[in-house]
Symmetry: D2
Subunit: 419 residues, 4 copies
């Protein structure tokens, strides 16, 4: 273990870096952009800026700074997301009705909390260990919101008929995607979950044994071109490929293609953070729901992997790839041979429901509401995407969404049974 002061300095530096990164993501936005909430699942950028700050103020400053006076008492209510242990929350679907506090006021809120946090981190206190533990949690929490911020910006730009561009400039040139190989993975009894080394969320523990049958995994993610064949050959009109819930959803919502796809004069276009452009066949398909991924896989006589199959295959891969750090802001074609794209580009949908690992215990206090209470009706995704901060992800990292959700940067990799 490194010495206290050094550790604190490192924590403070990391804290600053992450807080600055959030503001940097808002650079391309106008003041007006910060206000918009385009659906109940999403939040206005202004809210993300405030809520991540609220996290540090509520769980650290208010508890560890003697006599701490909140910047504004109303923020405890306004910027609480879902922590029942903290108290009531402003209703989620109404986050976009708040013009006040203004962006200026929220930036000022950030500045004050950052200052007090730096003071606290610089101070030697008995509770330093717990403070740093929570600061680290707050940093990971903020990284998640950096990804949400980009997801939410993309969504509200997409519903604007002016098709605003978040990041000007041509997308990475589309090369042809690498050939799809089926890689064999042997079965057997193995250990999965966090081994205790470094930071992890509580939902990655405890490490435990799972027995796998041997299976085959695709070498790369499904591409737009492959998915387009499904669309064009009537995939969205053929109930036989769909889960019953999925088909009901397709009919009710009139789905005909992935979210953000739009047919214009006979040509499929896709709204991206670089604006509206033609669908590039070589790029991984993105913004498909679990329902769509499952139907596509069945159409291909394949299936989605379980989260354990994914983790078994990814175990030896480096956590590297097209993350937000590349600034591409869009998945890129696979380019190579063997197992590719396990990390970055698109979150990979699995067929595993988001369930507690055997022996799972949520963290104590309101912080324990972070993960466990969402373990129902959602499906696990693995590996991170082109809008995930690289250092946020691990091989054991479990992301999760409902089977009908699509605004996350999620795609899929196929698996199939052996024999």
């Amino acid at each position: 273990m490194i010495a206290g002061t050094e550790a604190s300095a490192a924590a403070a530096a990391r804290f600053k870096a992450v807080r600055d990164a959030t503001l940097a993501l808002c650079e391309p936005l106008e003041v007006e952009d910060h206000v918009i909430q385009s659906m109940p699942d999403a939040s206005p950028p202004k809210w993300h800026l405030a809520h991540t700050t609220w996290f540090f103020e509520t769980f650290i400053l208010s508890e560890f700074v003697h006599g701490y006076e909140p910047v504004d008492p109303s923020y405890r209510y306004l910027f609480n997301s879902y922590y029942m242990g903290i108290g009531e929350q402003h209703p989620r679907p109404q986050r976009g009705l708040l013009s006040r506090p203004t962006l200026r006021e929220i930036r000022s809120y950030r500045a004050v909390v950052d200052l007090r946090m730096q003071e606290l981190l610089a101070r030697a206190t008995e509770e330093r260990e717990e403070i740093e533990r929570r600061t680290l949690l707050g940093i990971h929490h903020e990284q998640q919101h950096q990804e949400l911020l980009l997801m939410d910006i993309k969504h509200f730009f997409s519903v604007n008929p002016l098709h605003p561009v978040y990041k000007p400039g041509a997308p990475a040139r589309a090369r042809s995607a690498s050939h799809l190989e089926w890689l064999e993975v042997p079965g057997g009894l193995r250990e999965f979950g966090h081994d205790g080394d470094g930071f992890a969320y509580d939902n990655e523990s405890p490490r435990h044994a799972v027995h796998l049958a041997p299976f085959e995994l695709a070498s790369r993610a499904v591409t737009n071109g492959e998915y387009l064949a499904f669309v064009q050959e009537g995939g969205y009109k053929s109930p036989e490929f769909w889960l019953a819930d999925g088909w009901a959803h397709v009919v009710q919502h009139g789905w005909q293609a992935p979210l953000y796809w739009k047919k214009m004069e006979g040509v499929w276009h896709e709204f991206t953070l670089q604006g509206l452009r033609q669908v590039q066949p070589e790029e991984p398909v993105v913004h498909v729901s679990f329902y769509e991924a499952d139907a596509y896989a069945r159409w291909r006589s394949a299936r989605l992997p379980t989260e354990f199959e994914w983790e078994a295959a990814a175990r030896d891969a480096a956590v590297a790839g097209n993350f937000v750090d590349s600034a591409a802001m869009h998945p890129r074609p696979a380019d190579g041979s063997g197992l590719q794209q396990m990390f970055g580009d698109v979150w990979e949908l699995t067929r595993s429901d988001y369930a507690p690992y055997p022996g799972y215990r949520p963290a104590p206090s309101a912080l324990g509401e972070y993960n466990g209470k969402f373990m129902c009706g959602q499906y696990v995704q693995r590996g991170g995407s082109c809008v995930t901060p690289q250092e946020h992800v691990r091989v054991t990292y479990r992301n999760y969404f409902y089977p009908f959700q699509r605004w996350n940067f999620q795609g899929m990799r196929l698996a199939r049974d052996v024999g």
Copy 2:
């Protein structure tokens, strides 16, 4: 008739005054405020600024300026409210999802259209008469949106837990309201509607005969204090006072008091453009629906007047009172004797459904969609309110809302049968 040039100069001056007045109403707003749409009935301030401009661009510049190039072709779609004759519209409930165009861009849009309008009005053209007729219509249209702007601002501020203040400063001191008198109005056959002198909307015509029975009319509007008695004596829990539709609405929406009333620690407060304050008993009650007004009247063994009864009584009153021009932004207590408050303070709910006058003909072209197509299921209000521009109102002016709507500054004056 005044000479052409003079008339044009007058039209130009009036145009400028009204356009400036709209911007002045936005002075107290932050950039963020301009984006909010807090319910489907309301629109963001930014949208009002653009739509009123769109009206001049679409119905005047595009038609009378040879080779006119729209400021932005997408605005024709984005800022069309409901004119089917012009083409499709951006869906009304999604006006609050548009961060772009920015406020800066919309102000620039206003500036350019204003300039081109001034140029056009200064030019002698054969179509001057039609141009001035439409300009006048556009001016009245913009005045309506000035009122809507204040209604909508009040609404979105009201749903913000921070209770923002639009206009700081204490409200007018509440004096005691004048005594309620019942004034007799004789019956008989009379003429109603616009007599052709000066501007009027098509829905005020043709002038026609209606037979009235004699009736009594209250000398002033119902006050908060009077309405509070209804609230406190169980008015919202007693189906016998309510229309069937009204009672169903009360139960479904949990209504317990007028919109913007809020009980805090046992005391009724009211959200106003000056912020949240205690309900002042002397002030006219405002933001009650037709349902509530009708129930209250029944509880008082009275009724609402018809629009013709109102017009008969108001015929000799001056169009003067507490309009937006007073900058009070809230209704004031009645103060005097005899017939008071017929104009200004609160729109007065009538029991008349909004129907075409016998022989009514809508204006030709898309401009004919202004009034006639709303003649179903709505009820007429008369006399203007504290947020109406004074010069916008006439004794024959017909405003109209659905019986469940409340965000308009509307109140009521009682009537009763004679004998």
Copy 3:
């Protein structure tokens, strides 16, 4: 005035006749048919049988028979429609969830109440006048439910893919409809409403003066053939003909033709109480909403009459025509010249909202909930239909429905302004 005993015998005979007529309408039904409620507006036949009985038990037997024991105390709640003064009601949309009491039990309920009513009517009591007044009201109430019964049967048969037939047999042969004439009706100040002679509902009073402008009225109702032209020439795709509310409804519900019209292999069919058959061009169009009638009239450069225009024109016509008494159960083509079909065939939609007449007072007690509390948002219809009992209708009779409702046998007659 006729002597007491004679009057009572007459009342008893009329009571019996109407009660029998209700059961006769249920003759063609199976037990299973009595249970169905196919939409919240409709009620199961079983419920109509019970509710009309409840009316006599609640408002007469329970009040005028000393020590009366209700047949079943739970019926007071189960079969109350909307009389708040009587107490809570079983929720209207859940009437179709009640398999019990069985049809057998409800028929027995009817038998017992009928017996007790006959005993009461035969007895000389001090309250005879009030008893007979209420019996008469109960009789008219039951006649209304006879019509509702047929409306509701037609509706639930229509949603059954088996297209059950209520009344077998070919419909009246379709002759060609008579030529449409425009009949002039002079204007002036006239009296409208019930003159006090014979039974009338409270909503037909008081008689009062209304000033009419001269107008023209069509000699007969609009036919299927005429309406079909509107359908085929794009009437349901052209917002310019529609009220704003009407157009929104058309779009939301995908209306393309009157209720019960169904295009099969390119040919318009119509579901009737005789089953599914081709639309007959000569018959009056029926089951159009106020929205559709208004749009059709505008397309024809005409309009709907007001209820006073209708009453002025109908004043001298005999209350005769195709009522339920003819057993045709469907409107018939007009056949003659001059003013035809003012009574029977189809309820005639007017542009008058259902409002209280000047000086209107509802009846005292819970019976006063019969009419007044529905005076909001509905439109008046006049003249009765092919499923109305002939003796139920008068020239002053006001029926009323919401502008979007269609399951009533309602059609229209055009009017237009003069000059």
Copy 4:
């Protein structure tokens, strides 16, 4: 393998027994009861009678009887539940709008199909094996609908204010429930799923290895008395015990206790197939959702078992207990020591989502729509209930419902981690 004729005779006998049993369950019903659908999840008894018949007609008679003429061609559409491979279906929520075909007609449909089935089963044909395989599937299908029938009857009786009784007579006398013991189950790698001996649904295969950690399992189901403590100590008001989805559901639907519990004058009552009676503390709690079971377990510092934990513990238990065969129609108190009630009484909720076993393949043809397409968002239940036919259940049997559903006879048994 037994000889063909004998086997056929056995199949025919079993077919007859199951078909008769369905009719026997309808004995206590009135004609009217057969029509009711009290919620979209439920179906009218008449529909169950027809649909189970449709299954034999569609999958056996139509395919294996040369020149078979369907009893009524419209039934193919009307009584298809969800088999897309067969064609369109009458919309599920509208099953309760069909008064026709009548009960008499449907009983006749059953009689004809039964006759043709018996003829077919008696005939020696080349396809005998497949016919018997499908007959067996149809028998199991019909047994499932016998359970659904009782669930649906209970539900529509429960919403009738008259509280009809399905099965008169006192419930089994409530003895005290046996003491709750925690039984240890060792961990390790074991095989789960159907071993190929006897009938099983496709979702029970393939048999495969799962690694379990050691755990403890409760000796009996949770009782009403135990659950009541949770209710009374504020369980339904404490978000901290609930999954996020569960809490949202509790708030939205105002849940305060299990389905069918009703507080009357301070005392909790429960609607049962024997009518309304006081909650018996010794009986197993029934009609709780997955959300409620999960919250209750958390409150008790325990959890639900996984389906594999349940199967591991049940492996050596006899498939015996309080099934529909006992005619109790309600769960009974546990009575004994050691592992009790694994079968019968209440379906036992597990924390396992309903997912395909590794290597799962649905059956070919439309019959393959039986199970696989529902593998999303539902949770597995094990062991059968007091309304399940005993011979329908196996140790590997997987039942499944959504986490918010409650009308199934489902309860829970607690588990907890070791160490």
